[in-house]
Symmetry: C2
Subunit: 487 residues, 2 copies
């Protein structure tokens, strides 16, 4: 947990993120992003938009977070979006029955069991409160949606969306029509979702309010293999851990289709797009994990979790599910509207393949992978090895001394760069101290203005990772940095 | 209402925005942005970030939308964030007492009256239900916050923030410390806010869920005139309508300070920054309207509404309020934390000047100003004269015909431009029809590839506003467009 603890400390100390309403000791599971965190998140989102949404020609929407309860009745959330909750009859502590039983029994207890089944298992396992040894009250199903009413009459029940995708399903009929779209078509959305978690934990990993980026691909199931774009990725290898295997291996998309590991070219293509996005972002040690029958939702056909290896284990970043016609079928029944569309002259209720990405957890895991405590001579340095394209601040400008005209020259360089990059000017403390401050927030390049600069208009650029310096002309700075930061 | 109706029709037809959950006839006051709307909104936000946040060196945060009720007790929202609500005893329709009385009496009835005062006025005015002539039940105060509980015990009451600024006030102490900041310092945030409006209306203008961009400037009231940056705007003229005047006039910032129309250089500077931002965005016909005593909040010292003139009247886009120490004082008392900071060695509870911007309404008014129905010969064209920097799509690429190698050449040009601009390729229908489709969504430049292109690598560029065409070399396209779109 060394890196995890180091990261939380850094986040609080430098303001990447910190608990919301902390001066009021607000409830757990809500976090604010500070300035560095906002910039990092925005850069992540920009890459998502460029390398997934625009690259594939997806349609992006931005839907309301509050939706009528009728939507969640049709989507199944009212009934099924529940956690099994047990309360100690003695000290009143709440637990998730499945989690506590899984720990006690050393095997996975699915959350989908009935209350009666949980009570029976609790009896058999003689499960008592870990805190006070009290007995548990009977299991209840706790709905994780935040619901309330809207309007003065208080008779319209609404809920905060527990996932962003519902807006996409609802908007699909209009957008398909007005964009003169043809199947297959992908719709994307980035925004907040909300879940009343029983025990939020691990900072950005399990929050009650969080940012999702979801992509829903609508397609005709009969034509999911007529998919030209697949050729672009046929030879591209996915890191894939199949059901029953203990290690991931690389498998070409063409082979995934041929061996029927994925059910169509369309699905293989979007899995590839996703992995390419995370490669672009600079994530390491990832895998697609094929879910077993007991793990996947009842409607899921293909189901993979995109996971990343960190110090605290494999973390799920994206749920990839072929959901069949579960969603549009449910909303067709719930809204009594016809949601079929024409494809090659035939009416089709489109099937959906979903990529459901956790944005905050992606950022948290990128930070976890980036943070390092390193020996430098006899000292230690804390460094955040974020890819330059993601680092909140790309360049720091330092005058070597606060005299001899160096600050003026440094401000001149700062002025030249700030239209192009996220730059800071820092003149306080020794250069060594400035490097340490820059390293821990991941500034990839530090530019120092010294006496030689005044003579020949050259500066030193110090590389965060190698700690090596090189001398280059001021006139070449924008190009040099441009290649490293954007390239 | 011609433009307003035209805009709503366009928004639905081309997907700028449309009602949320429309297939379920969801509750009023919730809207989704479609693809064109998302891009427009993102470009607006990018300009906000560049020309306000970064230009001034503000710190941007992104806070949780759900905050504990203790925050809203301290901020005064629990008690004061209420609308006077009356219900017809016959047909059960709800109205805002102040609005209905204002209409009936032909003068402004402030919403802050007590229930008893409203009942008395209703009696005197013999106010009955406009729908069924029924009598009204006694006035009630209706709190506009959405509140609910969090956690399995349901004993932690939380609310959706009715304004984004509360997170900024709460985060200020930590950020001031860790950013080694000095007063004055501005914090900014863009995000959702929520109000349970009694009667949401006018599309994006009065929603129950909406996007705000708020800036809070923290400063030492004793040093608000020691503000060097003011010199940059001393001669810049604000469009200012003073209390009691019927028309706005231009007043230099230096004169606003000299004549004590604003209480400090700091406030004049931020008003100027705001107006410059809206000029950059391309808004016309705006004014700062100085609020009278009966209009401003009890804590407000300087109070101006930044408004824009549209077909449906003057619309408030930004509330500019010098809030004194109301906010930090309230949270200091509520949280029992010391929120003073050091300024020049002295402890100060900072005062706050706030710019509270409605993002959706800004976008809606920009669209309202941009839309036009024009005669072109004997025909009419609908055109959206959005500034090129805001237009969701900057360039359309058309092959004149779908043969003779023109589509291939056009795709080549499309490929060259799409890394630089938001571009579409459109080959369907006559060029005239394509222009009409482009005009109504505000595409400023249409590039046509014709037979001459194949001979000399030139294309025609047609300007949306003048409808004139000019011929230029493909090699010069990126530069030519860059100047027009980003310049």
């Amino acid at each position: 947990m060394e890196k995890y603890d180091e990261l939380i400390d850094l986040a609080l100390r430098r303001g990447f993120f910190f608990p919301a309403a902390e001066i009021y000791n607000g409830p757990a599971g809500f976090w604010d992003y500070g300035p560095l965190g906002v910039t990092l998140k925005n850069k992540f989102i920009q890459l998502w938009r460029e390398h997934l949404v625009k690259r594939d020609g997806m349609l992006e929407i931005d839907g309301a977070q509050i939706l009528p309860q009728t939507v969640f009745a049709a989507s199944g959330h009212l009934e099924h979006f529940v956690d099994p909750l047990i309360e100690c009859s003695k000290c009143g502590t709440f637990y998730r029955a499945d989690k506590l039983l899984s720990e006690k029994l050393g095997r996975d207890i699915p959350e989908s069991l009935s209350c009666e089944e949980f009570d029976k298992l609790i009896g058999q396992a003689k499960l008592v409160c870990p805190r006070c040894k009290g007995k548990f009250k009977p299991t209840k199903k706790f709905n994780m949606m935040f619901s309330f009413s809207v309007g003065p009459r208080a008779d319209e029940i609404v809920g905060l969306r527990p996932e962003t995708c519902q807006s996409i399903f609802l908007d699909f009929p209009r957008l398909f029509r007005i964009c003169r779209a043809k199947l297959p078509i992908a719709l994307a959305q980035i925004g907040k979702a909300f879940r009343n978690e029983i025990s939020p934990r691990q900072a950005l990993l399990r929050q009650r309010e969080f940012t999702q980026a979801e992509i829903e691909v609508f397609f005709n199931p009969e034509r999911a293999n007529e998919f030209e774009k697949f050729d672009q990725v046929a030879d591209y290898e996915l890191v894939m851990q199949l059901e029953g295997q203990s290690k991931p291996k690389k498998i070409k998309c063409a082979d995934l289709v041929k061996k029927k590991i994925v059910s169509s070219k369309l699905i293989a293509y979007y899995l590839a797009l996703l992995q390419q996005f995370y490669e672009k972002v600079g994530l390491c040690d990832f895998r697609f994990r094929q879910l077993g029958k007991d793990e996947k939702a009842f409607y899921a056909i293909d189901a993979f979790d995109f996971e990343v290896k960190t110090e605290i284990g494999w973390i799920e970043l994206v749920a990839c599910n072929y959901r069949g016609d579960h969603d549009l079928g449910g909303h067709q029944a719930g809204s009594k509207k016809n949601l079929t569309v024409l494809d090659e002259g035939k009416k089709v209720l489109p099937h959906i393949f979903e990529l459901s990405m956790g944005v905050d957890r992606s950022i948290f895991c990128l930070l976890l992978q980036a943070i390092a405590l390193e020996k430098v001579g006899k000292e230690e340095r804390l460094v955040l090895r974020l890819p330059p394209r993601l680092a909140p601040i790309s360049v720091a400008i330092y005058p070597l001394l606060n005299k001899d005209g160096l600050p003026e020259k440094a401000m001149e360089v700062y002025g030249q760069l700030k239209g192009w990059f996220d730059v800071i000017y820092d003149s306080s403390g020794s250069i060594g101290k400035r490097y340490r401050r820059a390293d821990e927030i991941g500034i990839p390049f530090c530019v120092t203005i010294d006496h030689q600069t005044l003579k020949d208009n050259t500066v030193t650029i110090r590389d965060r990772d190698s700690m090596k310096q090189e001398r280059i002309k001021i006139a070449e700075l924008v190009n040099w940095l441009g290649k490293k930061v954007c390239g």
